[in-house]
Symmetry: C2
Subunit: 221 residues, 2 copies
DNA sequence: CCGGATCCGGGTTGATACTG
DNA sequence: CAGTATCAACCCGGATCCGG
């Protein structure tokens, strides 16, 4: 990218990460951890493969990403954020938080990936009953399957399906997000296009509660 | 800008503010308040005038900026951030904070503007002696003149010169920034290319103190 | 299948000139 | 002062191809 040529830390930051796709690559590496080239490409639908290769080279040159040749069993190269690269997390968080109100306009051809729920999970969910045994919720958002775990006060997300989950929620991504953000009540979920099965307590355990986090933006579809 | 077409709040945010120059325009409006077109252009050295006009239109369409026809005495149009636009402050802050270590590489032809000190002043300075009467420091950074005021626990910055300032610091922007960020001690300032005059107490009153803010990045030139 | 490289058309940006 | 007009250069997107 052309430098802005301004002696200002915002401009200097954008000299490094202001290029198209660059911050989304960082988002992907932050939410998935070390990734193969192909994983990155599937997590960044729409990127041209030459651009991904270019950006990864630039990020490597800037010291934000390093490539690691994985050991023999897998024998593939992994891309991971350096510490300096991971320090962009507050930038991604701030952008993601500011963007929440924009999630109201969902276009039919918008792509969706399960790992993109990691930020809303961190932003909106909390384990309100940390003393209970661990519980999990299977989410089917569009064609993406993820599991939300609550355990000892911590809420986390993993990709994939878990047949032993305590509850299951199925529906289109915008409705799932509305539920997670607290703008759609669990009681109304079924009427709003969500299928909810299993333990409602496991779900209420992590959903935002009124007065819990004041000033949180919501996603009202 | 082309949409990324991803149902993710980070991508949606970048759909709106991810274009080249856009976030710098927001930075400028945040640090200067309502501005005339010409003020914006001078605060964004390097921008082409057609791009500034384009971006302002896009920002207006997105509801982040509104134009206001100023009353008869001045009779010019002002551009100001809407509330929604001002909510980008955490994004600018996060970028600016991440960019601080990049300030070490200052190129001779980098432009500099006094208002760009507003972010470092907020980030690094504090009024450590809130009970003393108000004091002020005149800064001459390159050809830019600003005044840092400390009053009743608050530190603020205004553009221009003030002949009644209690102290004066003169030098190139990188040295000024090193001093403000705490990586250059006031005692060493003179040897490092800064001219310091007047009350050193007024300066020490606001400079960061060891142990005051742990983990702050610094600018070591 | 993985991890790209290459090529090309079109859109965006940048620099300058000009105008109500 | 607040832009518009023009045009060249560059960057991006999409497709195709290639070596392990």
């Amino acid at each position: 990218m052309r430098s802005y040529g301004q002696y200002c830390s915002v401009a200097k930051a954008l000299d490094v990460v202001g290029d198209r796709w660059t911050l989304l690559i960082v988002r992907e590496l932050l939410s998935r951890g070390p990734c193969r080239y192909t994983d990155l490409r599937s997590g960044l639908p729409g990127i041209a493969t030459n651009l991904l290769a270019d950006r990864l080279r630039e990020l490597e040159a800037a010291g934000l990403v390093e490539r690691e040749d994985a050991p023999p069993p897998v024998a593939t190269t992994l891309f991971r954020l350096t510490d300096r690269g991971a320090e962009l997390a507050p930038v991604i968080d701030a952008l993601g938080r500011w963007g929440v109100p924009l999630m109201r306009d969902h276009r039919a051809d918008d792509a969706f990936r399960g790992q993109w729920l990691r930020l809303p999970v961190r932003m909106f969910l909390a384990d309100h009953e940390p003393d209970r045994p661990a519980s999990s919720i299977q989410i089917h958002a569009g064609d993406q399957a993820v599991v939300i775990d609550a355990d000892a006060g911590r809420v986390s997300l993993r990709l994939g399906a878990d047949p032993d989950a305590d509850a299951t929620v199925t529906g289109p991504p915008p409705r799932i997000l509305a539920l997670l953000s607290g703008s759609l009540d669990l009681a109304d979920a079924e009427e709003q296009g969500l299928r909810v099965a299993g333990s409602h307590e496991a779900i209420r355990r992590v959903l935002p509660r009124a007065g819990t986090a004041a000033g949180e933006p919501e996603v009202t579809p």
